[in-house]
Amino acid sequence: MRADEDVLHGLMVDGLGGDAAAHAALLRLLVPVLRGFYRRRANGADDDIEDLVQETLIAVHVRRATYDRERAFTAWLFAIARYKMVDHFRRVRRLHPIEGLEEVLLAEDFEPAAAARLDVEELLAILPTKQADMIRATRLNGLSVAEAAKAGGIGESDVKVSVHRGLKALMARIQGGAR
């Protein structure tokens, strides 16, 4: 059964009426919906995602009185899911200030990506220019080996070897933890 607005809304209303079976069915239908929601937004481990899903299910259950039967169910659900996600990140990383949830939310996908990017650039800086450029082209910018070779004006095998050596050097650097 596809979990669409009408189905979910119907089950929720029945659950609010005291129908435990409808409530259980609703929560079960929400599991894949929430998993999808969090997977798309939080690139965390599966454990984290499952924690978030469970926390959200509990919130949906405990705070179900705040659902207004006249309004869209999914809007209510995703408002809770978003809140739980922001709360989760805040707890895990203790990085974000507590106010301005909406702004944090918008920045949420961008920020880890940007931070990772900075780290990578720092690492790449220790490599010879050619190796760094080829890693950037093939691994970060998504060019194929042929395209990177053309862009860099070097042979395809040269690209492969540069990337291979560069990555190996980076790996050694990271594993050694030297800095």
Partner: protein, 213 residues
Amino acid sequence: MNTEDLIAQLSQDVPPVRRRAVGRRLAIGIALGSLVSAVLVALVLGIRPDLGLAMRGATFWMKWSYTFSLAIAAVVMVVQFARPDSARLRWTWLLAIPVTLLAVLGIAELARTPPAEWLAMWLGNSWMVCPWLVLALAMPIFIGLLWSFRRLAPTRLRAAGAAAGLAAGALAAMVYCIHCPEVSAIFVLTWYSLGILLAASLGALLGPRLLRW
């Protein structure tokens, strides 16, 4: 815990929910808190001896209508913040009505009074304690609202805290009227409002910490 087990466990306890459950929950929190504040006024501050007489005069009702309408506007905001999907805050401008009306009244009052008495009228006898007492009396109501929020789902915690503080402050000011003998509109406009604002600021400060769920 396994998600399937969790669902089974949660589904054991599915009491029916009334349509107006959010309003009810808030009303109970507010009523209990206000009751505690009223008892505190009666026991600690004392009810003004001329309350019966004052309730027949216009001043008392001026103070009550001001604080009551502020409380209504604030509670309207609290109700909106109680739901997670409160998209855009509506009816905030309601707050401006009582403030404007009281300001007009205050100006009319000043026009009738010789300027030499303005300062005395503005400060009354209790301007130093009035805001603090309002703030103190707001605490039981604020705590009542915190209890209400435990089953509600605010997602904008600072704003929800501020609205709860505002509502608690306005209701506390209303309760405080049964003690406070001050009569001038500009006194109420300044010192009552200051106490209410203090409560709202405290709510905004504490909201993110206390309303988390």
